[in-house]
């Protein structure tokens, strides 16, 4: 009798969970494909944006981190950091078709707006490697500060910005000459750089400094520095990493690392509007092309969270592989 009771008890809530029917809807009507790199599992998780379910998990190179889609949407480029290469993944056949010469330990990269070349941050070598993705060759190596990581490129493709984690600088690189023409000191451990679509502003996140620098892209002067305060969260847990700005520049979303929050920033006033609770150690972010949803990779809780950007609400968290790192979303 007692065992039966125990069995009943154990099965109870599982049964309750399975008997429930969810009526939630994803805000985007369009079906996009979401790619997540799982740093520890060496896999890519593929998610359907309408059902918000993992449809496939595919093994790729060692320690996949930064990922992005080529402009034609045919290939997913993957920084396989421990394989010292950038892999080219065919999204149709779901196979790695070739590798790009990336230099050692590639972590994050950015594609020129025209679709080529690719600019890769080589964390261990203090270099930015410029790679022609069509001809499969290195065009240039640009020496930058110590531990380069964040990569941003102006919408006209003329200015490349690299942030170096130890030098605490944003380096401005002329893409014609592949040389640094200006530097700006920012707060400790800058990790990510992103331009507004109109090219007027540059956003740089500082992980240890706990701030986001908003920089005038033309004069390369600091406009303001945004700091964060989450009720009930230790200040040192607030570590801004990934950042995305809407196309119209009205809002920026910042992943705040171990504080498990995404901050919503007003693009005009630079005030924090809201903090959204997501999974643990939120790292990188990506919008769907219609910008109705924002996907976050939560490194420690091994899941991703989906944010409804109109209602500013987290609608779902989906389990993926271990240590999800990068997020990329198809254009159609």
């Amino acid at each position: 009798m007692k065992t039966a009771l125990k069995m009943l008890a154990a099965g109870k809530f599982l049964a309750a969970a399975s008997l429930t029917a969810s009526l939630g809807f994803a805000p985007s009507a369009e079906a996009y494909t979401v790619y997540i790199s799982n740093e520890k599992d060496n896999t890519i998780s593929i998610i359907d944006s309408t059902t918000l379910e993992v449809t496939d998990t595919i093994a790729v190179g060692q320690r996949p981190r930064g990922i992005l889609l080529t402009n034609d949407g045919k290939y997913l480029l993957i920084c396989a950091s421990d394989d010292d290469t950038v892999q080219v993944f065919d999204v149709e056949t779901k196979q790695v078709v070739r590798e790009l010469p990336s230099g050692p330990d590639p972590e994050l990269f950015v594609l020129h707006p025209s679709g080529n070349p690719l600019y890769i941050a080589n964390e261990d070598d203090n270099l930015v490697t410029v790679v022609d993705i069509v001809d499969n060759k290195v065009l240039a190596e640009i020496p930058v500060g110590v531990e380069p990581e964040g990569m941003g490129i102006s919408p006209d493709g003329k200015v490349l910005v690299n942030t170096s984690e130890t030098t605490n600088m944003a380096h401005f690189i002329d893409t014609e000459t592949n040389e640094i023409f200006d530097n700006l000191l920012v707060d400790s451990r800058p990790r990510f750089a992103e331009f507004n679509k109109d090219g007027e502003k540059l956003w740089v996140t500082s992980e240890i400094g706990g701030t986001v620098a908003v920089i005038d892209a033309k004069t390369r002067k600091m406009i303001t520095k945004i700091s964060f305060e989450v009720p009930g969260v230790q200040p040192e847990a607030i570590q801004p990493v990934g950042l995305r700005v809407t196309k119209d520049g009205s809002r920026a979303f910042v992943a705040l690392g171990p504080s498990n929050r995404v901050a919503v920033i007003n693009g005009e006033t630079h005030e924090v509007e809201k903090y959204l609770l997501v999974g643990q150690r939120v790292w990188q972010l990506a919008f769907t092309p219609d910008e109705k949803m924002l996907f976050t990779s939560n490194g420690v809780s091994n899941d991703i969270s989906v944010i409804d950007t109109e209602k500013l609400r987290v609608i779902k968290s989906i389990g993926v592989g271990r240590f999800p790192w990068g997020v990329a979303i198809s254009q159609e």
Binding site: A9, A17, T20, A21, S22, G279, Q280, R313
Partner: protein, 282 residues
């Protein structure tokens, strides 16, 4: 040839008569409610104190696990709200049974029970009146929590109504059953302590059961045997537009059990009242 008149026709009980009776009982409860505005405010202050003060200190208590019906991480305020809604109903159920003890002491109960309508109908009507009051309290509470960023989907607010009616009936019937065994108002405070607090704390109202399990497997099993856990879960799932069939079955089962028990206990010739020497306990 004429058919023999049914018992109802003999006693002159038509459907209109039933409705009239129901209206009378509900109206009396409504009047009592309107006369006691402090009671309404007190019923709101209690869960709001929990929400604003207690929950504020426990923001990170839920840790990393996502439990149904939630699809993502939730703040503690969001988790605790269905439990506080159930708490409103628990207090309301006990309060209305408190009023039955009062009625019995004052003799109003005798007036009610000598009515020609069947006892089950009279008692159920009284319960419905109590549930209606609790629905009003819950509605105001949920409206306030909405501003505290507890924002279930809009259709969840509709889906929760049937769940609240059922859970209100269950808790009201429990109170009624308890009240039948109480001689005097003074004893009721003890029952409040022995029933309300254990029921509320040993349930999923304040913490998810997986967390209870981590701390104490015994406590976890106690929580699983506590019908209040299922009240909380029924409300929690309904508030997010989902049906927890297990909770529904348990709550419905206990409603029937408690209500049956109360109807039996309030039988002047058979129930506990008879053994205690009639209404008023004299």
């Amino acid at each position: 040839m004429t058919t023999p008149p049914t018992e109802q026709e003999v006693r002159g009980l038509s459907l209109t008569g039933y409705l009239h009776c129901l209206r009378g009982i509900v109206w009396r409860e409504a009047l009592r409610f309107l006369q006691q505005r402090e009671r309404f405010i007190a019923a709101l202050v209690r869960p709001l104190v929990w929400l604003f003060i207690f929950a504020a200190g426990f923001r990170s208590v839920l840790g990393v696990s996502i439990i149904p019906p939630y699809e993502t991480y939730v703040l503690y305020e969001v988790y605790v709200t269905p439990g506080l809604v159930a708490m409103i109903q628990l207090f309301n159920g006990m309060q209305s049974s408190l009023s039955m003890v009062y009625d019995r002491e004052m003799g109003n109960m005798r007036t009610l029970l000598v009515s020609p309508f069947p006892r089950w109908f009279l008692l159920t009507s009284k319960l419905m009146a109590g549930v209606a009051v609790s629905l009003l309290q819950v509605a105001v509470f949920l409206a306030i929590t909405w501003f505290w960023e507890v924002e279930p989907p809009l259709w969840g607010y509709l889906a929760v109504i049937p769940a609240l009616i059922l859970s209100g009936l269950m808790l009201g019937a429990l109170g009624m059953l308890l009240s039948s065994g109480i001689k005097q108002l003074e004893n009721f405070a003890g029952i409040m302590n022995f029933v309300i607090f254990p029921m509320f704390f040993a349930s999923s109202a304040l913490y998810p059961l997986w967390r209870m399990k981590e701390t104490s497997p015994l406590l976890y099993e106690i929580c699983l045997l506590n019908p209040f856990t299922y009240v909380v879960e029924l409300i929690r799932f309904a508030l997010y537009g989902q049906l927890n069939l297990e909770a529904l079955a348990v709550v419905a089962g206990f409603t029937i059990l408690f209500l049956g028990g109360a109807i039996f206990a309030y039988n002047p010739s058979k129930g506990l009242i008879a053994r205690r020497g009639g209404p008023g306990g004299k």
